[in-house]
C-alpha cells in the first residue's frame, strides 16, 4: 500500500507528461486539423463563422483535455456519481427552461456557452457505470437489486432526451450504456429478454413516435419515394459520396457540398462532404485514424490496473465506435437519418466537449495506469 502511494505520489510532472499517450494525442490533433479543413470546405473555402468557431473550440477543448489529463483518476472515480447527477440536472433544466431550436428543446443557456447536456450524458453515463461496477462484486452483478439501479441510471436520461425530442442522441446514450453494462459482466440473457420486450412493445413505441420520426424511418426504407422531400438528405448524401470515387473531387471541389445540395453538411453530414472531396482513399484514412484512436483507448484500458479506468476506457472506446458507425451508416444510407454527430469532426461544442472530457479521463487512466482505486 505504501508502495502504491509512493508510486503515484512521487511521480513528477515531467514523468506524467512523458507517460501520456502520444499516438492518441497526435491522432486527435490530426483529426482536429482534418475537421477544421472540412469545416473550411463547408464554408465554401472561406474563413467564416463555422470554421473559426470550430478551430477555436478545438484548441480550447484540446488544451483543456491535456490539463484535465493530469487530474488523478481518483478524482473521476470520486466524482463519478456527481458528474452524472449534474448532467442529469442540466437535462431536467433543459426540459424545463431550455432553448428551443428547430422544434427541439435541447440546449441550456450557460451565459458563456449554449450547452447540450444530452451530449455530455453520453460520457457521464459511462463514468457513472464505471464507478458503479468498480465497486460491485462479480457474483452480485446479476442480482436483481444490482440490476435495478443501473436500469434507473440508464432509463432516466433516455426518457428526458426522448422528450426533448431527440431520438438520435437518446439512442446513442442507450447504446453506450448498454455496451458498458454488457462489458461489466451482466448476463447476456437479460439483454435478450429486454430485446424481446422491446420488440413486443415496438407497436406502442411507433404509436408514440412523432410523425416526422415515423417519416424518417419510412424514408429510410424507400428514399426514392419522395426525392425532394424526406428522402432528399439520403439521396443527396449518397450522390455526394458515390461521386467522390477513388480519390475524390479534390479539396474545396466537392460540388454537392459547395453548391448546397448537402443538408446539414457542418454537423451530421460532415463525413459526406469529406468523402466527396477526398474519395475512398480519404475515407479509409479517416477510418484508420478513428481505428487507431479506438485501438489506443482499448490498449490503455487493458493496461489499467483499476477496474474503473479499464471499464471506462473500454466503454468509451465502444461508444466512440458506436457514434462513428451510426453516423457513417446513416450518411451511407445504411441506417435511418437520426441526429448523430461524428466525434470531433462534426460542428458542435457540446459534442466536442464531451468527447474531450472522455479523452482526458482516458489520458488520466494512462498516466495513473499503475494506480489502484479503492
Amino acid at each position: 500500500m505504501f508502495k502504491e502511494t509512493a508510486l503515484s505520489g512521487q511521480t513528477t510532472f515531467f514523468q506524467k507528461l512523458r507517460s501520456m499517450d502520444y499516438i492518441l494525442l497526435v491522432c486527435i490533433l490530426i483529426l482536429g486539423v482534418i475537421s477544421s479543413l472540412a469545416m473550411y470546405a463547408t464554408d465554401g473555402g472561406e474563413l467564416l463563422y463555422h470554421t473559426k468557431s470550430h478551430v477555436l473550440r478545438f484548441i480550447i477543448f484540446f488544451v483543456m483535455m491535456i490539463i484535465l489529463s493530469f487530474l488523478n483518476l481518483r478524482f473521476w472515480h470520486a466524482t463519478g456519481y456527481l458528474f452524472y447527477i449534474i448532467v442529469l440536472g442540466l437535462l431536467i433544466w433543459a426540459s424545463l427552461y431550455g432553448i428551443t431550436a428547430s422544434g427541439s428543446q435541447r440546449w441550456v443557456d450557460l451565459y458563456f456557452i449554449n450547452l447540450q447536456p444530452s451530449e455530455l450524458m453520453k460520457i457521464a453515463i459511462i463514468v457513472c457505470f464505471a464507478k458503479f461496477y468498480h465497486r460491485a462484486q462479480i457474483n452480485q452483478i446479476n442480482h436483481f437489486k444490482n440490476l435495478l439501479v443501473p436500469m434507473m441510471i440508464l432509463v432516466l436520461p433516455i426518457l428526458l432526451v426522448v422528450s426533448q425530442p431527440d431520438l438520435g442522441t437518446s439512442i446513442l446514450i442507450a447504446l453506450s450504456g448498454i455496451i458498458v453494462l454488457w462489458l461489466a459482466g451482466i448476463n447476456l440473457k437479460y439483454f435478450v429478454y429486454s430485446g424481446l420486450f422491446l420488440l413486443i412493445s415496438l407497436p406502442f413505441v411507433i404509436a408514440i413516435l412523432k410523425p416526422y420520426q415515423k417519416l424518417r424511418i419510412l424514408t429510410f426504407f424507400n428514399p426514392d419515394k419522395d426525392p425532394l422531400g424526406a428522402g432528399y438528405q439520403i439521396i443527396q448524401s449518397k450522390i455526394a459520396i458515390g461521386s467522390g470515387g477513388l480519390t475524390g473531387k479534390g479539396f474545396l471541389k466537392g460540388t454537392q457540398g459547395y453548391l448546397e445540395f448537402l443538408p446539414e453538411k457542418h454537423t451530421d453530414f460532415i463525413f459526406t462532404l469529406f468523402s466527396e472531396e477526398h474519395g475512398f482513399i480519404g475515407s479509409l484514412a479517416l477510418l484508420f485514424i478513428y481505428g487507431v484512436i479506438i485501438y489506443r483507448v482499448i490498449d490503455i484500458g487493458k493496461n489499467a490496473r483499476s477496474f474503473f479506468g479499464k471499464l471506462f476506457c473500454f466503454g468509451f472506446a465502444s461508444s466512440i465506435f458506436v457514434f462513428i458507425t451510426v453516423n457513417m451508416s446513416m450518411v451511407l444510407g445504411l441506417l435511418p437519418i437520426v441526429g448523430s454527430p461524428l466525434p470531433i469532426m462534426s460542428y458542435g461544442g457540446s459534442s466536442m466537449l464531451a468527447t474531450m472530457i472522455g479523452f482526458s479521463i482516458v489520458m488520466s487512466t494512462k498516466i495513473y495506469q499503475k494506480q489502484l482505486i479503492a
Binding site: A240, T255, E260, S318, L372
Partner: protein, 659 residues
Amino acid sequence: MFGGGGDSGYKKLSTVNRRMFIMTAAKLVIFGGIITRLFSLQINENKKYLTLSDKNRLREWRLPPVRGDFEDFFGNKIASNLKVYQLHVVPEQVEDFRYLMIRLRDILDIDSKTFKKILKKRSQQKSWETLIISENLSWDQFAKINFYLHELSGAKPVLSVARNYPYDEKFTHLLGYVAQASEKDLIENEVIKKSHVPGLRVGKIGLEKTFENQLIGSNGIQRYEVNAYGKRINQIDFVEGKKGANIKLTVDTEIQAQCNELLKDKAGSICVMDIYTGELIAMHSSPSFDPNLFLYGISHDNWNEILNNPKKPLINRSIQGLYPPGSTIKPIVALSALENDVISTKFKVNCTGKTEMYGQTYHCWKDTGHGIVNLRDALKVSCDTFFYEMSRRLGVDRLNLTAKKFGLGEKVFNGTYNEEKKGLIPSTQWKKNALGRGWVLGETLITGIGQGYMQTTPLQLCLMTAQLANGGFKIKPKIIYDKKSDSYEKIKAEMEKNRIDLLSDFQQDDALVDFSLEKKKRDTDLYKPLYRNQENVKFVLEAMFASTNEVRGTSYSSRINDKKYQFAGKTGTSQVKKITEIQRELDLDISQIPYKERDHALFVAFGPYVNPRYSLSVFVEHGGAGSSAAAPLAKKLFKTIIDRHEEREKIREKSLMEI
C-alpha cells in the same frame, strides 16, 4: 482498499477482458461493413453517382441559332440578320416576379393583351427557361430599361439577332418568310425540335421553309453550374453556335426590283429565265407584302389588310396561279402540228372571223377575220380560226404530248416549293379518268387556242419559251446557285452534240417511232432535243419574231429595233368567262367590264433574237389584252435583262476563277 480484489476481482477482470475482445472483433466486422459500403458507392457505382451529381449541378441554356442568309447572284443579301435589342427574364432568378412584370409593363407600355400573353407563356415554361418580354425593343425602350435597370433585378436587356428582309416585299413569294415556330413546326421537323428555343423563328413557306434544315444553324450552348436553389454559380462551358448555311440564289435583285415596279398595283407575275443554264433570273408575284411584318407576329390590322385585299397577295401566282395560257400556247400547238406532219408550213386557212364546226360557232379574236393566212401569219397575228382548224387535225392527245414535253402540266421546281402547282394539260384519257365523260371534239378547238381545261402557271410558260428558244432542248430550271453546275458553254456544246446525234439517228431509223415513245425521264433527258426536226422549232421561233417585229404582229408596238435588245414573243389573252353573243356585239372597252370578268393578259418572249439567252413570261391578272397589258412590260424589262447580262457574266467568270 483493494476494491474488487482477490478471486472475485480476477474473475471480474477476465470477464471484462473477454467481453472486450468479443466487442473488438465485432467492431472490426462492422468497420469492414462500412468499408464495403464505401467501396460499393465510391468505386462500383461511382459512374452512376457522378452522373447524378452532374445532373444536380449542371444546367444548360441553349441560345437561339443564327439563321443562314440568302443572297442573290451578285452577292446582295436578300435575307439576313439584324441586331435587335430584346428584354429577357429568367423567372427563377427574380425575387418578386409579379412586381417586376408590373414595373416592366409600366416602363415599356405593354398593352394588357400582350401582358396577359406573356404571363400565360410564363405559366407554360419551366422557371429557369428564358421568358421573352419584348423581342424588339425600340431604342427608346432600351434606353429606358437601362436607366431603371438597378431596380429591375432579374430583367436582362439582350442583344440578339432577328431575320431581316431588306428588299421588303420584292422577294416575299420567292423566298417565303419566317415566323415564330408553331407546335406544328416542331412536330413536323425534327431539326426544328432539336434546336428550338423560346422565340425561335422558322421558315413558314417558300425557300425559307424548304431549306429550313440547312438555314437553321446550331444552337450556342451555355453550360452553367447551379446551386441547390437554381442560382447560376459559374459558367462551365460555352459552345458557340454555328450559323446556318448561306444560300446563294440565281436571281438578280435589280431585275426582280423592276418586276416589282412593273407590276405595281396590278395582280400578276413575271418570270425570267436563262434558257441554257435554267437559272431563274427573277420571279415575282404581285401584289406582294412585307415579310418583315411576320417577324414579331403580324398585327391584326396588317393581317386583315393582306387577307381582305381582293388581289390576294398571299398567292404566289408564278407557281401557284393556274390560268388558261391563251394564245401563248400557240407556238407549242404549231410545233406539235409540224412535228406530227399534220400540216406543212404552206398550209393555208381562210379566216372570216368565225367558223362553224360541230354545230357550234367558234370566233376568231378579230371579228372581221384575217383573210387567207398561212402558219407563219397565223402565229404572227394570232389567228384563232387557223388554230381551230390545225388543232382539229392534230387532235388533243398529240398536243398533250408536245406540251408536256416542253414543261407544261408538270411542276417546274419539283420539291423546291411545297406550294407549287402542276397545272393541267388535258387529254382524252385525262377527261375520261377525271370527269368520267368522253372527249368532245369541240373541246380540241378551244384547247388549241389555250382555253378550256388547259391550265398553266406563269413559270411553266417561261420554261416552255426557254426550251423553245434554246433550239428545242431540255433544260433544268434552278433557283439555287451552284458553282459546280454546267456552264453555258458546256451546255451549248452538249446540245450541239445531241443535235448531231439525233440527226444521224434520224437518218438511220424511223424517227417517228422514237418520237412517240415519250419517256418520263427528267434528268437523263437533260440537254436532249425535245423535237423531231429542229427546222420546225426554228420555224416557230421565226414566226414569234415576226409576231413582235413585223407590222401587224400582235406585239409589234412593244418591239425594240436595236439588235442588242431585240426580242421575239407571243401574246396571249385568256378568257375568264365565256363571251356571250351580246357582249360580242357590245365590244366593251376593258374599263367597262367588271374587274373579275376581265381577260388575263399574257406574254412570253425570248431575246436577244440573235443568239437568245433569256426567256420571260409576263402575266397580268384581269389585265385585258396581252398585246397592250403584258407585252409593254416585257419591252421595259428586256432592256434591263440584257444590260445586266454582262455584269452577270463578269460575276460568273470571277466565281469560276475562285474555284
